[in-house]
């Protein structure tokens, strides 16, 4: 294996900021307009070996902590929401393998391969006919003579056609109940993807979250050895909401930065502090402050579990509620922050060609509460609120 010099987190962050300001930001509008995959951004992320940042260094990755990886999602969120979202979704799948696949010969070899080839992982969780419930599958994996076959009607597989592999949830065998699920890693190149639905949306247009009928086959070792119920509770649920919360906070930070620049311009023009807009900027930053605070609290709690190697703590209802709150609150606050930033910038923010245009950010922001609907998450929280004594 090719040896790579160890780099510090500060160096990695600086690299991501550099890529963000140059390549990622430069193509963000085109990605949005064409509703296309951010090829340039991911070519750059690959060449800087940033797809393996969460993989432990023993496998060839950077071995960053989840807090650090989430910080990278946040940074990317400043420049292109779609790029940041794809990066986050990839990291969620990586985390599932890192946390639950290291004991498997196949998956530990795959982790090495991921680092060497900078592979991009996608996910197929929801299924036609289950109403968006991750914890139910209709399809199942069929194993015979060490080989499996799997067919799934997936209403959403983000960036499927641009991924190297897809982690697919399904029932563990043909007689398994809907909730007895496993995750199977399928190689995209060896998988038949027949389009079901397209992806022409208001925002997050670059995630290319189209639907497909997926037909895959492979070796039975590609079935992740841990039951999906455990993978979800210990990893996918917290990592999703924490990385998404981070990138939404990055989007909010990016909008706030634009608003600040606009206020400075106003001040340069008049030599006086523009009273109303400056006050609005101060208020806006208070919302951003709460967003960051809520996220940081939940992040700290989960990082402590990871550091103690005790992910069973993540099964506690109190923690699940906290992580759900990160999702619901951050996804709604990002709309609030971008909207407030638009009020500050004014017509220049409303113009698509304005210097501090916030049009794309505003459209993207509205997706956060809808992609994995907040009402569904509140429904889960409502049930858990009934049983916990204190949140």
């Amino acid at each position: 294996m090719e040896a790579h010099a160890l780099r510090t987190f500060a160096q990695i962050k600086a690299t991501v900021h550099e890529l963000g300001q140059s390549i990622v930001a430069a193509h963000a509008d085109d990605v949005d307009q064409q509703a296309r995959f951010p090829h340039e951004a991911f070519a750059a992320l690959r060449s800087e070996r940033l797809l393996s940042s969460y993989v432990p260094s023993s496998f060839g990755g950077d071995g960053l902590s989840l807090t650090e990886v989430s910080e990278l999602c946040r940074i990317l969120g400043h420049y292109c929401s779609s790029t940041a979202m794809i990066y986050a979704m990839h990291q969620i799948q990586v985390a599932c393998i890192v946390h639950h696949g290291q004991d498997s010969v196949y998956f530990s070899r795959y982790l090495r391969q991921m680092c060497e080839q900078q592979l991009l992982l996608a996910s197929a969780t929801t299924e036609m006919g289950v109403g968006g419930d991750l914890r139910s599958s209709i399809c199942h994996v069929e194993v015979a003579d060490d080989q499996f076959t799997l067919t799934k009607q997936a209403p959403v597989i983000s960036y499927a056609l641009h991924s190297d592999a897809i982690l697919v949830t399904c029932r563990g065998h043909k007689d398994a109940p809907a909730s007895d699920q496993v995750q199977v890693l399928v190689e995209t190149q060896k998988t038949k993807l027949t389009p079901l639905t397209g992806w022409d949306t208001l925002g997050f247009r670059g995630t290319c979250s189209a639907g497909f009928t997926l037909e895959a086959q492979g070796h039975k070792d590609q079935i992740l050895p841990t039951p999906f119920s455990v993978v979800l509770a210990h990893t996918m649920h917290p990592v999703s909401h924490l990385t998404w919360g981070s990138l939404w906070t990055g989007m909010a930070q990016g909008a706030t930065n634009k608003a600040r620049l606009a206020v400075r311009d106003m001040m340069r023009r008049s030599d006086e502090l523009p009273q109303v807009t400056a006050l609005r900027l101060a208020e806006l930053d208070e919302v951003l402050f709460s967003m960051k605070g809520g996220l940081a609290g939940a992040m700290q709690a989960y990082q402590a579990m990871l550091d103690d190697n005790n992910l069973f703590q993540a099964e506690k209802y109190g923690f699940a509620i906290q992580v759900n709150n990160v999702k619901t609150r951050c996804s709604e606050m990002v709309v609030d922050v971008v909207g407030k930033a638009l009020q500050i910038v004014g017509i220049g923010g409303y113009r698509n060609d304005g210097k501090y245009s916030l049009c794309r950010e505003l459209r993207d922001a509205h997706g956060a509460a809808l992609m994995v609907n907040n009402d569904r998450i509140r429904g889960h929280n409502a049930t858990m609120q009934v049983v916990v004594k204190e949140s």
Binding site: Y317, V386, V387, E390
Partner: protein, 79 residues
Amino acid sequence: MYQERIRTIVAKSVKLSKDINDIQDSDDLYSVGLTSLTTVNLMLSLEDEFDIEFDDNRLSRQTFESIAALNDAVEELSA
């Protein structure tokens, strides 16, 4: 030893994919139909039946994953 009373409650609160009599004490209830949401009904029914209260520290998947685990919890809470 509360297994029999627990079994009656599990059968009543959870939409099981097989008969309660075919489920062993150590079987994973989540693989036969228990979900995080039905866990709540189950917990409330157990609290009523045994006049106990599940503290927040116990509210996780592990506590509810099998008849045996539930029996341990009920025994500890009613001690």
